[in-house]
Amino acid sequence: MSGESQLLPNGRVLRYSFQERAIHWLAGISYVYLLLTGLAFWSPWLFWMAIALGGGTISRELHPWFGLVFVFAVVLMFRMWGAQMKETPQDKAWWRGLRHYVRNEDEKMPSADRFNPGQKLLFWGFFWNGIVLLLTGLVLWNPQWIPWGVGFVRPICALLHAIAALLTIGLFIIHIYMGTAIERGAFGSVIRGDVSRAWADKHHRSWYQRLVKDSSRK
């Protein structure tokens, strides 16, 4: 349940292994490319993003390939984290206390496991929207292969692709905000892998306590 996470001899806690961090950034970097080129195709006011990334034609050529990289990373994440992202009965209490979480009244929140229910929502949101983006994206990749008789699926796929992308953008804004501005230390954990014991105890108490128990048992 805790992956490779462990208490480190220097008094810190390893939260994400190298493999976890590498896969996270494979997804992260490919997503940011997809986001920028996708937004360029979304609005004329943002088309300059495609120009900045090498031009509209190159952006259109590479966007689907980066999409495959992103989906590959999401599949790896699913294999790596899928089990830990399962909803537990305690999650309901966490969602009921969301108001306190938003107001930074964390002492009133039930303790979270390695991933809190908000992180689970992020994961499943990207997972399911990723499936929609993949399936609709495959149609948009080579629309000339779709016979005219079923041509109506092409604009429907364009519409669904945009809706799914917007949903991930909502999750992405919150993810970046939480990971950089709100939970100080979280960004370091996904770069260098480790967090302080106080951080682990504050944000993911159930996980931290289990690590402590496991290490004292050894």
Binding site: G56, E61, I163, H203, Y208
Partner: protein, 296 residues
């Protein structure tokens, strides 16, 4: 195709005002195709290839008079052929010259995200600018007539230009020039409508085609290519001419309500987290704070 010297009315994927909009006194041009006098000689197909410089494509005669199943990226003008058993007139060989309809409300332009890749001139011609096309193929999704075609070599989309290069120089389109029966006409939209109405009246009153009519579909705001049909109530028999073409609802939904909703949500989301930060700030963990709970 070429940067024709004509006033521009609308351009695709463009932020801000359209240069030249409303500045021209040029009138709407129109091509009139009278399917009742077309003999299917395909001179227009040849003239189109000749003028635009494309080589002759491989033909596929599938027990039909038709050159190929549908237009191609380098074959913009195709006579659609259909054998039709008319209740009063018996077997009819229907010939319809298929090409871009130059919609007043073009679905290709509506769907296109590339700045200036599709332009609509003041005179109604809808033209693709391949140097600005990014090859996404959204125009193919927006078109109700299956006209824009993707070239796998060029990675761009092509279609009939209504000979914008010729029209801008005061010439008629190449197909019109080649027609030996006079079933193709070119002029102002008003003149062509008048001519078409006169011809359909003749067909109704003197030739026994009670359903004869003009195809100028209002679902796309009318078109700058119009047909005279023996049976306007049943355009599908003319090689699948859609009865009520319109820009797909999904394109409308995607380009209008969803775009505004999405933009507001994205701006609102960014503003929301910023205000949250000002109000509540980060979840700090004091340095050296002793972890609470747990077995130590």
């Amino acid at each position: 195709m070429s940067q024709a010297t004509m006033e521009i009315r609308r351009i695709s994927g463009h932020a801000g005002a359209v240069p030249g909009a409303g500045m021209s006194r040029s009138y709407d041009v129109c091509k009139l195709i009278d399917t009742t006098t077309c003999i299917g000689c395909k001179a227009c197909e040849v003239a189109c290839l000749e003028w635009n410089g494309y080589s002759f494509s491989e033909t596929s005669f599938n027990n039909s008079y038709q050159t190929m199943p549908e237009t191609a990226w380098n074959y913009w003008n195709l006579i659609k052929f259909n054998e039709y058993e008319h209740p009063d007139h018996g077997l009819m060989l229907l010939m319809r010259k298929d090409q871009c309809m130059h919609c007043e409300d073009p679905g290709c332009l509506e769907a296109c995200p590339a700045d200036g890749a599709i332009v609509q001139y003041q005179n109604g011609i809808v033209d693709f600018q391949q140097d600005r096309c990014i090859g996404c193929g959204y125009c193919m999704s927006g078109c109700p007539f299956n006209i824009p075609k993707f070239s796998t070599e060029a990675r761009k989309v092509f279609k009939c230009t209504l000979c914008s290069d010729r029209v801008s120089q005061g010439l008629e389109p190449a197909c019109i020039k080649s027609c030996p029966t006079g079933c193709l006409h070119f002029g102002s939209k008003d003149d062509m409508r008048e001519l078409a109405d006169r011809r359909t009246k003749q067909l109704r009153e003197h030739s026994g085609f009670g359903n004869a009519g003009v195809y100028d579909p209002p679902g796309v705001g009318g078109t700058h290519v119009i047909y005279v049909l023996h049976d306007a109530t049943n355009p599908e028999i003319y090689g699948g001419l859609p009865k009520d073409p319109h820009i797909p609802w999904s394109v409308r939904l995607w380009k209008h309500p969803l775009k505004w909703l999405g933009n507001l949500a994205m701006i609102g989301g960014i503003a929301g987290v910023f205000v949250h930060y000002l109000r509540f700030g980060p979840k700090t963990v004091e340095d050296g704070a002793k972890p609470q709970g747990g077995t130590r």
